[in-house]
């Protein structure tokens, strides 16, 4: 199978060069957004990037979409180098970013999408028919002649999806496409993406998300990314298999004085703490090597003068994979 996307040692650094222009004692603001990333996405794949804020997801997408140049390393999209050969790439890709409100407010929904379709040289008639079809599919048909500035956030988001798909790209980049959408709108978008890739076997989707469920339910393969590095990359099933050996325990206690104290307990691989302000409780998710540390955990809770309210062992989900790799949850 051909590679739709391939990166080699892809690195992107922001800032930190112009020493002369910086006040003398200002700290050097050098951010390594991507750190020698190697990935490969096959044609026909629905590939997910899962990572916390600032992980480098958007940076990777921007480089692949030819908006941003790599600092070092290389990336190819559809076989073309993003730095040297952006034009053939642009004919084959499109991109949609969630949570932004792009569009010309004075144009109507349809006019907006139509205008962008014309940048791709799609015959006007063909474009119009396709726009109408997609507007119906995204349940935006009623709003087709509404001025874009009157659209709600969710409607604008759907309009942007139509804008992205109307050009029939071979590879589409979706940066948090369901961000800020209500449950049913998000579901509709997920269904559309699934359907699109099932109908067109040669199409490739690269999607970033914060939502575990979304990645799990949608993606053929997922890369977990943090601090600019890919920590793991596999099918959701196999990723979950990685933590199968381990034991995942969810614990709810009365508020703990020192929720960091579990670090020292032997056999605790990783854990996350969530303070529930409303109920004045603390909930903890532990990834343990085996059952053995459970006793020590219980006594530590009691030592802190707190009480265990509930405890359950759970089957690993992507969330646990994530915690075990990244050392923190995703919200």
């Amino acid at each position: 199978m051909k590679d739709a996307i391939r990166t080699k040692e892809l690195t992107r650094v922001f800032g930190g060069k112009k020493r002369r222009l910086r006040p003398r004692d200002a700290p050097e603001k050098r951010v390594i957004a991507l750190d020698r990333v190697d990935t490969q996405v096959a044609e026909g794949e629905l590939f997910g990037l899962l990572g916390p804020n600032g992980a480098g997801k958007t940076t990777l997408i921007k480089i692949l979409a030819t908006l941003l140049l790599p600092t070092s390393g290389s990336a190819t999209v559809a076989g073309y180098d993003v730095a040297k050969d952006p034009y053939p790439i642009r004919q084959r890709i499109n991109m949609v970013s969630g949570g932004e409100t792009s569009g010309y407010g004075l144009l109507t929904t349809r006019e907006n999408i139509w205008m962008f379709s014309q940048f791709y040289g799609i015959p006007s008639k063909v474009a119009k028919a396709e726009i109408d079809r997609l507007l119906k599919e995204f349940e935006l048909w009623e709003r087709r002649d509404a001025k874009v500035r009157t659209l709600s956030t969710g409607e604008r988001q759907k309009m942007n999806m139509v804008r992205g798909f109307v050009t029939d790209p071979d590879i589409i980049f979706l940066d948090e496409p369901t961000l800020g959408l209500d449950v049913s709108a998000a579901r509709a978008i997920r269904q559309f993406i699934r359907g699109w890739i099932q109908e067109n076997h040669a199409k490739t989707v690269l999607l970033t998300t914060h939502y575990m469920m979304e990645a799990d339910e949608l993606c053929d393969r997922i890369a977990i990314i943090d601090n600019g590095r890919i920590l793991a990359c596999d099918t959701p099933e196999r990723l979950k298999g990685m933590v199968k050996r381990e034991v995942t325990v969810k614990l709810e206690t009365d508020r703990l004085k020192d929720p960091k104290a579990f670090d020292v307990i032997e056999g605790v691989q990783n854990y996350v703490v969530k303070e529930e302000a409303q109920t004045n409780r603390t909930s903890l998710t532990f990834i343990l090597e085996d059952d053995a540390p459970i006793g020590d955990i219980m006594s530590e809770v009691l030592n802190q003068g707190s009480k265990v309210q509930s405890m359950e062992k759970i089957d690993p989900t992507l969330e646990e994979v994530f915690i075990s790799l990244v050392g923190k949850g995703l919200d």
Binding site: F14, K62, A65, T66, L67, L68, L69, Y87, R90, Q91, I93, N94, M95, S97, E100, T101, S102, G103, Y104, G105, F116, F119, Y120, G121, R163, T167
Partner: protein
Amino acid sequence: MAGTLILVFIYYVAAAAGGAAPPEMLAYIFVGSAFYMFVFQAFFGMFEVIQGDREWFQTIRYIYISPISYYAYIIGRGFTQMVVAGIGVLVVLAIGRGLLGIPIGFNLALLPFFLAVLVLGLFITIAIGVAIGGITFLTARHGGGMSEGIAGVFYVFTGVIFPLSVLPVWGQVFGQWIPLTYWFEALRRVLLERSPPQADAFLMAIPESTLLLILALSLIVVSLLSLAVFRYVEHLARKKGKIDMTTAY
């Protein structure tokens, strides 16, 4: 447009205070400032297009990653700006001639010359405007000031409202290196019934055919420069991650 009318008003007042205002001089100013609207619209309008697409509509990244060359796109937007400005220019000239009775004419014998000059000048203006717009990629916040500043320099040194001969020698030489100086001169050949006595002798001495040649050569040079500047700035912006940068928060 309002600017042009205010200018004329000031001139009337100054003339009334200081003695006779030769109507030829008034026509000189009128033609210059009317056509200067093209220049301002191209310089500042191009900046506004890029800035608007980037900060306000946030569409720039989608235009940028589309197969259409951004350079071509921005030139297209430049032509739209020229059409808008063109309507303004026509209105101003009509008011000047019809309402204020300023001696603006049209030498019909020079019609082909006029059309060639107009097209060449507009292309030159757009090419410069595109380069200025390109620099906007890098200077989000100060870009407006920059394009206004450059427009201002052109206002003073290309003989828009006063002949170059008014300037000190260095200013005259500087002006002679700006192609639009010859554009304004060429336009006046067609639109002024008489040249004012103060008009610049150096420019007056240039025959029409030479003016055309200067403009055509200028267009080639300016286009190449504009493309080079734009490409370079675009590369820099893509390197620095500034193509779709927003500063509006």
